[in-house]
C-alpha cells in the first residue's frame, strides 16, 4: 500500500483527474460568464434607488412585484403564448418530421431546407416583416379583401395581436424543432417500422405506438428549450407589436427592458423580475423532467 501511495494516484484516480482537467476550462468559463452575472443580478435585485445610487433594501423589490399590475399582465401574456404556442408548434414539428422521414418521399432535402429556412432569418427582421404583412393595408388584409371578407385590424385588438405573435413564433421556430425530431428519427431502426407494417399497423398506430415513445427524450428536450425560449421572449414583443395595444402583448422580458432603459431606470426592480423568470424556468424544467422521464 505504501508503494502505491508513493507513486501517487491509482489508475482510476488518474482517469478522474484527467477528466476534471478537461472539464475545468469550460466550468470556469460557465461560472464566469453565467453564474457570476446571475449572482450579481441577485445582489442587484436586493437594492433600490435612483440611477446608480443604489442601497440595500432587502426583499422590497420582490414584494413590489406582487403589487405590480403590469407584471401580472405581462406574466399572463407570456404564459398565454407558452400554453398555446409550444404545444401547437411541437405537434406541427413532429408531424412534419415524420412526413419528411418517409424514405419514398422525393425532394426531401428541398422540403427540409424550406421548413428550416425561417430559422436563419434575424429575429428583428422577421418581426418587422410580419408587422408589415399584418398591417391595416398589408398583404394579409389584401388577401382577405380578395376573398370578399372584411379586413381585420390585427394590431388594434388584444387577441388578434396575440394571435399574430403566436403565428409568427410558429413560423419561426417549427422548422428548428423539426430538425431535432428528424435527427431523433434517424436513431429509430427502420426495420421497426417495416415490422409494424408487416404486422398490419396503420400509419396512425405506428406514429403513436412507435414514433412518439421512441422520440420521448427528444420531445422532452424540445419542450424544455421551447418553454425556456418562450418565457424569455423579447424581440417579437418589442418589434412586432411594441407590446400594444396597450400592454396586452408585452412579455416579461420586454417589461424588464422597459424598466431599465425606457422608463426612468430601476435596475434593482428589473433584476428582481429577471430572477423571477429564472425561477419560473427552473420550476417548469423540473416539472417537465419529472413528467417526461419515467425511468
Amino acid at each position: 500500500m505504501s508503494g502505491s501511495s508513493k507513486k501517487g494516484l491509482t489508475l482510476q484516480e488518474k482517469h478522474g483527474l484527467t477528466g476534471w482537467v478537461f472539464l475545468t476550462p469550460a466550468v470556469l468559463l460557465i461560472c464566469w460568464t453565467s453564474f457570476y452575472p446571475m449572482i450579481q443580478a441577485f445582489i442587484l435585485s436586493l437594492k433600490t434607488g435612483m440611477g446608480v445610487n443604489l442601497s440595500f433594501s432587502g426583499f422590497s423589490n420582490y414584494t413590489r412585484i406582487l403589487k405590480d399590475p403590469t407584471f401580472k399582465q405581462t406574466l399572463f401574456n407570456t404564459f398565454f403564448y407558452l400554453i398555446i404556442q409550444v404545444p401547437v408548434m411541437l405537434v406541427l414539428a413532429l408531424i412534419l418530421a415524420s412526413l419528411l422521414n418517409n424514405k419514398q418521399l422525393r425532394f426531401k432535402g428541398l422540403f427540409r431546407t424550406c421548413i428550416f429556412l425561417p430559422c436563419a432569418t434575424s429575429l428583428v427582421s422577421y418581426a418587422m416583416i410580419f408587422r408589415s404583412l399584418f398591417a391595416n393595408d398589408g398583404f394579409v388584409n389584401t388577401v382577405l379583401r380578395g376573398f370578399g371578407m372584411n379586413p381585420i385590424m390585427w394590431f388594434a385588438n388584444a387577441w388578434t395581436a396575440r394571435a399574430v405573435i403566436i403565428i409568427a413564433l410558429i413560423w419561426r421556430w417549427t422548422g428548428y424543432n423539426m430538425v431535432f425530431y428528424l435527427s431523433g428519427l434517424q436513431n429509430i431502426e427502420y426495420s421497426v417500422y417495416e415490422a409494424a407494417r408487416i404486422d398490419g399497423a396503420s400509419p396512425l398506430q405506428t406514429f403513436f405506438k412507435i414514433t412518439v415513445p421512441l422520440l420521448k427524450p427528444t420531445i422532452l428536450l424540445t419542450t424544455i428549450t421551447s418553454t425556456n425560449g418562450t418565457l424569455q421572449l423579447f424581440d417579437e414583443s418589442l418589434n412586432l407589436t411594441n407590446g400594444g395595444p396597450g400592454k396586452s402583448t408585452m412579455t416579461m422580458s420586454h417589461y424588464i427592458y422597459n424598466t431599465s432603459f425606457v422608463q426612468s431606470p430601476n435596475f434593482g426592480y428589473a433584476a428582481a423580475m429577471s430572477i423571477i423568470i429564472l425561477i419560473l424556468v427552473a420550476i417548469l424544467a423540473i416539472l417537465q423532467m419529472k413528467v417526461g422521464d419515467e425511468r
Partner: protein, 469 residues
Amino acid sequence: MKRKLISALLALTMVISMTACGGGSGASGDSGSGDAAADDGGAAADAGTDAAADSGAGQEDAAPVEGGSADENTLTVWTWDPNFNIYAIQKAAEIYAQDHEGFKVEVSEVQSDDIETRLTTAVAAGDLSTLPDIFLMQDNSFQKYATNYPDIFTDLTSSGIDFSQFSSAKVAYSTLDGKNYGIPFDNGAVINCMRTDYLEEAGFTIDDFTDITWSDYMEKAKVVLEKTGQPILTSQAGSPDLIMMMLQSCGSSLFNEDGSVNIAGNEELKQMMDIYVQMVADGTLVEVTDWDQYIASLNNGTAVSALNGCWIMASITVAEDQSGKWAITNMPKLDGVSNATNYSNNGGSSWAISSNCQKVDLAIDFMNSTFAGSNALYDDVISKGALATWAPAGESEAYNESVEFFGNDAIYAKIVEFATHTPSNITGAYYYDARDAVGVALSNICQQGADIDSEIQTAQETVEFNMGG
C-alpha cells in the same frame, strides 16, 4: 448510464441555450432599439426621425468612437441623422475652424435611444471614459438623465454661454435645480401642415384653420371627410403624441410643479382624450400601425394634414410632386381652458458636454461661438429644416425667405414666431413613464372601448407605482 447521459445532455443544452439566449438577446436588443427608433418615431419625436430611419440601416458596421480624441484640436461627438444633426455639427465645426486653425470634430452616428442606452450602460459599469466630448440628447429625455445620472454632464451654468438668448421654455428642458446642463439646439414648434388642394375641394382655405378651436376644427374635419373622403389626421396607434401636444398647448403637464403625477383629475387631459376618441369615432382621425405608415399617409395623400413638430416638414417635402399644395398654420386650441394657446412643441434636442471631456474650455468655446453665437450657422442649417431656438437667428434674412413648396409662404419666420408663443411644460425624470401610461390608456380606450375615467385612473396609478420603487 443512459439516463445519466440524457440528463447530462439536457443540462448541457440548457446551459448552452441560456448563454446563447443571453448573448442573443443582448445583440438583438441593440439592433432592435435602432429599428424601434425608426418606427417609434412619434415617441422618439426627435428632429427628423424619419431621415434617421433611412440612414440607420447602412451604418451598422461603423462602431462609434468612444472617449475623447488624442488630438488637442479635435472633439468627439455622438449624434444621429446625417441630414440634420450631423450636418449641423459639421457645419458648426467648419465655421469655428475659420478662426481656429486645425479644429475638427469627429462625429459618430449613433441613434438617439442608442446614445441613451450607451450612457446608461457606461454609468452602470462605472466607467465614463467611453463617453465622447459632446453628445446630443432629446429634450424629453434630458431631465431623466440629469436626475438619475448628473455625473455624466459638465455643468455649464457659469461657462459664459448666454442662456437668456434662447427661449426660456427650451432652456428649461436641460436645466435642473438651477444648473444648465445643455446647449439648446433645434426647435420642435408644432405646425399644422395642410393640403390646400383638399381644403379647396371641401370649400375651405388655410385661413379657416388658423387661430381656431378644437370644436371648430372637428366640425370642419367632418366636412372635409364628406367632401374629399380623406381623414384630416392620421396618427400612430397607441402613440400619445397628439395628446402631449394638446396638453402643452395649454401649459399643462402630466406632472405638477412639485413633481407629483397630474393625470387623474387633469381636466384638460380628459378633454383631449374625449376629442381624440370622438375624432376616431367620426372617422376624421385614422390610426395607422406604425411610423412608416404615418409618413406614407402624408406622402400618398390619404391624410389631409399633419399636426406635428416642425421637423415633420422634412418628411412632407420628400413628395416633390406635391410642391405648392401644402400650407402651414398653427394648431387648434382647446375650448374653455383659460391658458389655452394655438401653440405647442413636439421634440427637439439639446447638446451636452460630457463629464469625460478633457478639453472643456475648447468644447465650451466651440459651442459658444457656434450654436450659441453664429448667425451664419443657423442661416445655413435652416435649409435642412433645423430651426433655431437662439433668438438672434430668427431676425436673420434667411428666415424671411419664401418657400415654394409651401405656397411661397415665409414659413420659417412663421414657425419661429409660433415657438415664441409656446408654453413650457414639466418633463421630469418620469416623463416617459407617464407618457407611456397615457399611451396605454389611449389605446385601451380607442381600440378596446375601455372607460375613459377608469383608464385615466389606472394611468395615474401606474406612474405612481413606478415612482414608488
